[in-house]
Symmetry: C2
Subunit: 367 residues, 2 copies
Amino acid sequence: MSHDRRMLVLRAVVENYIHTQEPVGSSAVTKNFPLHVSSATIRNDMAALEEEGYLVQPHTSAGRVPTEKGYRFFVDRLVRIVPLSAAQQRGIETFFTHSVSLEDTLRRAARLLAQITGQVAIVASPSIVKSHLRRFEMVSLSMNTYLLVIISDSGRVEQRTIATSMPPKPDDVDRLIAVVNTQNEGQPISLLARKLKDIAQSDEFSAMRGFIEIVVKAVADMHDEERSDSMYMSGTALLARGNGAPIASIGPLLDALEEQVVIMRLMGSLSRSANSQGVGVAIGSETHTQGLLNASVVSSGYGQVSGMEKDAPPRTDDADDPDRSENTAPLAFVGSIGPTHMNYPTTIAAVKAVAEYLSAFINRQDS
Amino acid sequence: MSHDRRMLVLRAVVENYIHTQEPVGSSAVTKNFPLHVSSATIRNDMAALEEEGYLVQPHTSAGRVPTEKGYRFFVDRLVRIVPLSAAQQRGIETFFTHSVSLEDTLRRAARLLAQITGQVAIVASPSIVKSHLRRFEMVSLSMNTYLLVIISDSGRVEQRTIATSMPPKPDDVDRLIAVVNTQNEGQPISLLARKLKDIAQSDEFSAMRGFIEIVVKAVADMHDEERSDSMYMSGTALLARGNGAPIASIGPLLDALEEQVVIMRLMGSLSRSANSQGVGVAIGSETHTQGLLNASVVSSGYGQVSGMEKDAPPRTDDADDPDRSENTAPLAFVGSIGPTHMNYPTTIAAVKAVAEYLSAFINRQDS
DNA sequence: AATAGCACTCTCGCCGTTTGAGTGCTAAAA
DNA sequence: TTTTAGCACTCAAACGGCGAGAGTGCTATT
């Protein structure tokens, strides 16, 4: 893959295919792209590109279609960064001025991203385990049940109902809450369970040791359960409409979307190994997920914890962008899933923009 | 519509059509249903049923398909109540043992219902306006922003971020919280805004009158916003698969689903005017909703406030079920949306079952 | 190395024919 | 009066052949 023009041809084919959704022939390339060569020349190049595995033709005497390899090369080396349209920009701007709570914001961010990309959008809630405690609260629901509420500094509110067979005295509960708050405010929530254990050991709370054990269990549970719990998905309906052609192919995709745990893991690792733009792209089989074979995933972290140096290796090394400020451990991520022939430039730009706005929103809460 | 057999024929046609999704002919009826008459007889009855508007044929020399009127008669007079399958029962049972919080429970209830019915499922969160206050809390996020948290006795946790240009003193805030809690615990949340206004007038809090105004505004906002905010929808993806034939027809349906406000109002009124089973059904144009012309909505209230007498007139009067205990103002509702040719018996049974379990769950919290 | 020209190959859409499920009607049987 | 058997009729859907056209690979030329 040396010749400059071949790369331009590849780009032309991919862009055209993304646009029309139909196999693109040599004449279409000459017509829509200013390469200033004849269709015969393009044919030669396309034959070469097919030889090298970047293109295939569905059948003889049809145009060419990009392969996974073709898409990969395209996103790595050929994408032209498109600015979002004015309307989209405005949409995002006005959108973020109306947010009333973190949950509401994330939910609407998912819907917004789905709308811009015309694809499934997923927004994960900032990991509560990675954030710091702002307030710990317990409310009695009935004699034997308590509602446990944990508020993090990213504005996330987590709740758990817990039941106990040996109800503690209300006064004791209030004392416990006070102690936990004074000891842990501003501390990482990941340490909370451990701290609670220590408290249980102290003489002061010896009477309610059993109860605290249950609380500890509930807090520890959050580590495991937050995975599937705390994500907002939108735009699954859009999959159905769109072109309408490949209904058969979206069946498995839908199944995959039900497997929220898998998606979470995939997008999480993807946003960690992001490219220079801070956005990670997995194409088709690169997702290593059954059912996403005809789909691609674009994802980015948000809510970076500032103060750490970046550790994720960039996937490419050219086209370095100066404004990639901090590529550090993100609190959560946002992403979009669509067909392998999705509009990568737009999707990448949209995901990036939403991620940046979400980061800003989180930090605003934070400060 | 007198003859007994005609009704049986109508039932047969509807059930068969629901099952096969294809126009049903006279021979299909004789084969699959034990009516012990010849196909010619069925033909006569079907012609009569068509005359009366219960059936239509897509074209000459095709089988018959139920009309809206046919479905209506079917659900009103002909449905045989089917018990849920053992697997479904088990699904619901085990499902409810794993619930950790109200939000989590509702979200999973929606997913469960979608899975059972194979359709879109919607679960509305118990109206916070109709519930009573359990705890009022305000947490400082930054100098100028506070997180307002309201916990209702149905276990719902509502949050709002509020910003003020004149930050109050932390001590004052704590005092305010204490006063609000002691004055309002157990009181209807609908009165909360008014109570807060009164407090603002008192001399004790004269210094933070402006701040309280903002809080009042936020609380009042909940009345309006909870509509779209507090519902969980699942299974939109299922619409796409299914048969795969009528892609065109689901387009408007998806649009309608985006209009969450409309759906909320529709299901709300529907669950209020429910039949003897406590389940309301709106078929096709009965939904009075553009885009739901080929869809039906099945919905039921849950979380009944006990102590009131029923006031909703039952839609039919036969087949009275002894265990319809309280048909009183529900806190919220649950429902399912699918094509007009949905499986009504199963859908109705599933919606009813989930509603009952949700009611039980709420009351458990409550007690 | 690029281009023009050309024969070749498939897919797709079009159209007439066939097939078969299902009907309505009539006349006989119950 | 109701049910049934028989039969002619209708029409959507499946089938198969055909021509058009898009697009290719190859070869000869610039």
